[in-house]
Symmetry: C2
């Protein structure tokens, strides 16, 4: 058995070195405990426990034998003695499960098609909770004397509720750099002094949150939504579960999110979900779904509708308001035989398919608004280049008509507040509102559209504050504006687009770029005779097509061409697939044709940009605002909101949540 | 005369469109007032006024005639009546000056070598001040009835001093994105939870400041240092002056910086300047020099030594401590016949040329430390790849020996505090400490070296807090850590360098990049047998050359090659000049040879990256820390420091500073 111990110790190194792929994230040893080491919990928060013991058959960790079927698992609050988990939580010992899986140790192994096979024994303890704040040790003992210890921290939070309402705005993918660029485009300045302020710039409290995953330093929006809503960091693509090594996307160990805890603690509290994405997308889904695969769209919509069917879990009657796009996931299809419009309607929801119906819906009833298929058209297309809205066949009833009466983020958010206030004026509400296409348009390097979405978010925040004031709710509402991750975007100067268009070769075109003093002043705030105008006001550019545009970019990209001009003909497609798809993506020959080519820095299989590492900003005002200053982990957003809503439950029924 | 008025109005548009080049920044009309419209002032702050009237001879603004030699200039505090400036400030009417200058209206005009000629009449009012807080109107009347109005704002600040000392750390070019990357490289985490914190992450207050120039949205370090130190935004390359159109780099209108005001108000207060750059460089120079051209290095060193000779100005006896590099500007040369070492020595400074001498210098005497020629060698070279320090011929005495006993930012900063505390324990001090090569190494795309400097800054901040605590000064010291501008840097994943090295073509090499869950965990914190080690501690990476490195980049760059590996052989040179220099820069064929080529997005004349737009972070602790939360202009850093030091002087001798 000593041999095994050395093997396990060696694994810590070799597994860590296996970077591009990992045997199982959060499990560098052969014994896995989820929630993993260093997990934080809200007192009383429901969670599942998953244990696995791995027996690698081949590869660098290969061992002789089968996975331990007699592993032990104990829980200790620091200072007490160990108790078996079943006894601790007063539940029946779960049954042993067995499976196997394969993985590649690195890119060489993948190229050579040499997977490593791992046999697994496992158990799951479902829906337990820890009520008493403090430090816990969860210990898995396997292969005799091997131990994997998970240190768990149940946070000691005040239980007094300080905020009646919480409004959480998520600017998906939004960074400080993007806010700076959006400000430059939309707000006039004289000699370096802005004459107007963004709504975000008026917030009294600024913080930074770290967005990295549990097992990788770049996150996706599922993983990061999970962190913001539940206080648990997990793996890319996972929603409110830790990811185990089984194939089933629904058996992974779950934990409660803030919507579930809020509704459980305050049955008369309201919940609202608003997004400019398709509603099955990760950021809205994170308030309902529990799955290791964010691509399980039907699960997401069914979780909005009826909560979890497969497991006993928090009673959840769905959100009061659910507004966004992605009609295809509500309509019947091969993947989903149910007509969710009918089901929601039968459950008492009004269903709105356009902006007029949204505005006319009664505020005292539940409301489902699905305004088109796919993601909501961007602010730029809805407000400036409206010609791009035709022939989209995107009406939410699936009829193939065009959606021609679309709301924006502001319409949806203000309506959500009206409904939540009308229905839950006494008990308060939790509302999440997402500007999704800041991220989506940044992915496709369509910086103008992305920043238009950011400015729409800013305008929505401004209008929300006014609305809450007019309802008399502002003082009682914690408002947070943050992001779930970044993109490596910035602006480095200006481009004389006339000059670039007039040059014939790529190197000459680059000389159209002006930097430092030659960057000059923003021309987006200056209206001109040939310009398209949306507004001469302070919140959006006066024109999107000035001669001198922003020299903007991201730090990692596919092959693409740049002429630094607004894509007036519709959202951008920077790269297209080679004839033989194995050869990956090349520059889209139809895109930015007057510009110069930039070869990619991402794998050739990438047709768009990717998320980045940067800490993202947090703006806060209202009760508990002081909790949001300085630098902290993304999970602290959850714990701060939970503290402010008084969600910690330190006196449970014994150890278990049953 | 009405015709002229319409011409001037049209100019507002056409001049604004002249973006890459401007006739004169801050002067869209034909009449120019500096300080310009929207300028802010500390009550009692000395400043010069420059007036110009332009008469463009050709180009889009061409007019018949000569520039007005009979223009009028009046000052009004809002609510009072106008008085001529000479009367207002009780000074003699200055003499009329005349000159002309040329500029290009755009890149086409430059290519065609068709400059626009402008004849100028001008005046300068020297060393005046406004004491009474409030709104002022400064009006230039020219060509009969043309008017250029500058609205000036003298801030109403409390005059009570709240901080004894201010320590201002400037991480040159440092962004939130870089802090996030440095944290990932140097601090260990388990399952998404960092086990240690950066010093910056512990600050109670976080803010963002906007770094743009007065007349362009991308700044350089001179302009931005000026904003931070004086409360006035100006033009790229300018130090503590607004830039007029005359050729003379020393006649531009000046304004007092914080070192000057502090020393004038508290003659027994101490001033310290520390930088890892050459000491004539912009960020240290901004505490002494007044010139439109940061390249006037001899002016900078003489301003440290004796203040301004050409103009009556604030009495300034030089800093108590001046530590950094750039020995060439202290030695006699063609440009500078004076031996500044001797001059400083004669003035009572101890002169230190190496780390030993720095440490041994008495704390009760003034100290000049110049440790090598050029910029200080980077932290990475001084601590990890020390072989790069030989054959540099950089000893500060100009002997051609190697500088082999170099201090770091921490050594210099702690010594500066010792001297300032010993000499000014009663009256307090102002210390600026700059981590200059965060910027310099980011320019050359040497991300490892840049982040090494950032980690050294963080370590210096940590040690400074400890030092101030041990001296009993921490409670009385406002500590600010910020930047002067950004670079568009971020991290988007990891690179399997073994795999990249093994691939033969550029597109295959790109497949070595792992993003999202394939980014994995930071390998820089894990020591290994083949790794170079600096420290197993929490403040620096355990190794700089792991197999899995960061996939990092900037948003704008020259032609270069990337293999994402540390440049162990010395600081990086990404691009080199073509044989015919007119053809610009191409990828350096000796750099990152195992990587793939990325064609540039900057003009081919650029051999390195450039500054970016992003707001930069501000970390604050100590007295007045609450002033530094939220989002604000870079100039507010000056006003907040000035408020905290009680520098506002609201009761002056009449209107004038004389």
């Amino acid at each position: 058995m000593r041999g095994l111990s050395i093997l396990a110790a060696a694994c810590t190194l070799s597994c860590a070195a296996a970077q591009t792929f990992q045997r199982l994230g959060g499990c560098p040893d052969l014994g896995c405990v989820f929630p993993p080491d260093q997990a934080d919990f809200l007192p009383g928060q429901f969670f599942d426990i998953r244990l696995e013991v791995h027996s690698p058959v081949n590869g660098s960790e290969a061992r002789v034998g089968v996975p331990d079927s007699d592993f032990k698992f104990t829980i200790t609050k620091k200072g007490s003695h160990s108790i078996s988990a079943a006894k601790y939580f007063k539940i029946k010992e779960p049954e042993l499960e067995r499976w196997n899986f394969t993985w590649y140790e690195d890119l060489f192994a993948q190229d050579a098609n040499q997977p490593s096979l791992v046999n697994v024994t496992a158990k799951a303890y479902r829906r337990v909770a820890l009520y008493e704040p403090g430090e816990y040790e969860a210990t898995l003992t396997y292969y005799g004397h091997e131990k994997t210890v998970a240190n768990w921290h149940v946070r000691d939070l005040p239980t007094k509720r300080r905020a009646k309402n919480v409004v959480l705005f998520v600017g998906d993918g939004m960074t400080t750099n993007m806010i700076t660029a959006a400000r430059l485009m939309a707000h006039r300045s004289i000699n370096g002094k802005y004459m107007t302020k963004m709504a975000l710039d008026k917030f009294p409290i600024l913080g930074h949150q770290m967005t990295h995953s549990m097992d990788s330093f770049i996150t996706d929006s599922a993983n990061s939504a999970t962190a913001l809503y539940s206080g648990h960091k997990t793996t890319v693509n996972a929603l409110n579960v830790y990811v185990d090594s089984s194939e089933d996307p629904f058996d992974d160990p779950k934990f409660e999110n803030i919507a579930e805890v809020f509704r459980r603690r305050y049955p008369d509290g309201g919940v609202g979900i608003v997004s400019t994405a398709f509603l099955a997308d990760a950021t809205p889904a994170g308030l309902a779904a529990h799955t290791s695969d964010r691509g399980e769209y039907d699960h997401v919509i069914s979780a909005y509708y009826e909560g979890l069917k497969d497991y006993k879990w928090t009673k959840w009657n769905g959100p009061d308001v659910l507004l966004g796009a992605g009609a295809e996931n509500f309509l019947t299809s091969e993947d989903s035989p149910r007509d969710y419009y009918n089901l929601f309607s039968e459950k008492g929801y009004n269903v709105a398919w356009n902006n007029t119906a949204l505005h006319n819906a009664p505020n005292d009833e539940k409301l489902l608004g699905v305004f088109q298929t796919s993601n909501l058209e961007t602010w730029l297309d809805r407000n400036v280049y409206q010609g791009n809205l035709v022939n989209q066949s995107n009406y939410p009833d699936g009829s193939g008509r065009d959606a021609d009466d679309l709301p924006g983020l502001k319409d949806m958010t203000l309506k959500a507040i009206d409904v939540l206030h009308e229905r839950h004026g006494d008990d308060g509400f939790f509302l999440m509102s997402e500007a999704a296409s800041i991220d989506k348009q940044m992915h496709t390097l369509d910086y103008d559209r992305s920043l238009g979405e950011l400015l729409e978010l800013d305008d929505t925040v401004r209008a929300t504050i006014e609305k809450l004031k007019s309802l008399g709710e502002l003082e009682d509402t914690l408002i947070i504006v943050t992001a779930d991750h970044g993109h490596g975007f910035d602006v480095t100067g200006s481009v004389d687009t006339d000059y670039m268009d007039a040059q014939e070769d790529d190197r000459s075109k680059r000389n159209a770029v002006g930097y430092y003093h030659n960057s000059g002043l923003s021309q987006y705030t200056v209206g001109g005779p040939k310009s398209l105008r949306y507004s001469e006001g302070v919140h959006f550019p006066a024109r999107w097509d000035p001669r001198y545009t922003l020299h903007a970019g991201v730090v990692a990209f596919p092959d693409h061409r740049e002429n630094y001009q607004v894509h007036s003909e519709g959202p951008r497609t920077p790269a297209i697939a080679a004839k033989d798809k194995k050869n990956g993506y090349y520059v889209n020959y139809k895109d930015a044709v007057t510009g110069f080519l930039i070869n990619g820095t991402l794998p050739v299989s990438a047709d768009q940009g990717v998320h980045s590492l940067t800490d993202v900003p947090v703006f806060a005002q209202g009760p508990c605002q002081e909790l949001f200053g300085g630098v902290y982990n993304s999970i602290d957003i959850f714990f701060n909101m939970a503290e402010c809503l008084g969600l910690a439950e330190t006196k449970g029924k014994g150890h278990s949540g049953h």
